[in-house]
């Protein structure tokens, strides 16, 4: 089935053919047996889909719909502010703690070493996760869906 034939079939099913296209379509139906068979098959499918519709929820659902959207917006903003504040405070606290431990001479060397290992390990983990996210994003087949 050529692309032109496919489009004529769709247009005929959906009542979207111009007069000229309809003439072409009818001529094809008369001369092309495969086209005729496909037309019959697709008409049956169209008949079935035409007899169905979406099942809609009860009216009560819509009463709370808008409120739920606004709650999501509020909570999204709240989580964002909470995250920013927490990240800044925790990072500052850790930086100060690390500085104090490394400067303090009384802290045993193995504690300093462990802290250094912990910091490097955490840094590698974060870089690895970020790199994976970037790789996944580049190879995401659904990425282009957003136009």
């Amino acid at each position: 089935m050529t692309e032109r034939q496919q489009h004529l079939l769709m247009g005929a099913l959906d009542g979207a053919l111009s007069d000229g296209e309809r003439r072409d379509f009818e001529q094809l139906l008369e001369t092309d047996e495969d086209m005729r068979a496909e037309w019959m098959r697709l008409r049956r499918v169209k008949g079935i889909t035409d007899s169905m519709e979406f099942k809609m929820p009860s009216d009560a659902i819509w009463d709370g719909y808008t409120a739920s959207v606004y709650r999501r917006v509020e909570r999204g903003i709240a989580w964002m502010l909470l995250s920013i504040g927490s990240i800044v405070l925790v990072s500052t606290g850790l930086w100060q703690l690390g500085k104090a431990i490394f400067i303090e001479n009384d802290v045993p060397l193995y504690i300093k070493g462990s802290l250094l290992a912990l910091s490097v390990g955490a840094a590698i983990l974060i870089v690895s996760i970020v790199r994976e996210k970037i790789f996944t994003h580049r190879n995401d087949p659904y990425k282009d869906v957003m136009r």
Partner: protein, 161 residues
């Protein structure tokens, strides 16, 4: 006000994407919330509902992909369509229910982008041009996807007989 105007449309479109009442409600509400939160990063030339749909289809496709990756059964999400006309005859009613279930199962087997176009055309009644605008694709692509979807449906329905 905008939410009230478009909520049922968004719900129906989400239902077409995910075929589950609860998930359609969840995703459509999330789409509105994301548009309100991130409106500055979205295409300002598009009408409001175009932005909502842009987010909604992304959420819907991701949801479908995640569900497939968790190997959950699609069949358990039946019952998202309903017969337009009921029959007082129990035998005919059972026949219609069976037909609806087969149609739902056949639609579930379609690739996301074909199912999306099919649902917008068949159950939303949009014109080719309106679907093309909503999805940002040419008219010809809409018709090609629709043809592929209908042909697959015909194959599936014949195989289920």
């Amino acid at each position: 006000m905008l939410v009230t105007t478009y909520m049922q449309q968004a719900y129906r479109h989400a239902l077409g994407l995910v075929r589950s009442h609860d998930d359609a409600l969840d995703l459509s509400q999330e789409a509105f919330a994301r548009v309100f939160r991130h409106h500055e990063s979205l295409d300002p030339e598009r009408p409001f509902y175009g932005l909502v749909y842009q987010v909604l289809r992304r959420l819907g496709f991701n949801w479908t992909r995640d569900r497939r990756s968790r190997a959950e059964k699609l069949e358990k999400y039946g019952g998202w369509l309903v017969e337009k006309q009921r029959s007082p005859d129990p035998a005919r009613e059972a026949e219609l229910t069976d037909l609806r279930e087969r149609l739902e199962a056949a639609i579930d087997t379609l690739p996301d982008r074909e199912r999306e176009v099919l649902v917008l055309k068949e159950f939303e009644g949009l014109k080719y041009r309106e679907i093309a605008e909503l999805l940002g694709i040419p008219n010809g692509t809409v018709m090609s996807r629709l043809y592929a979807a209908r042909r697959s449906l015909a194959d599936e329905l014949e195989a289920m007989r």
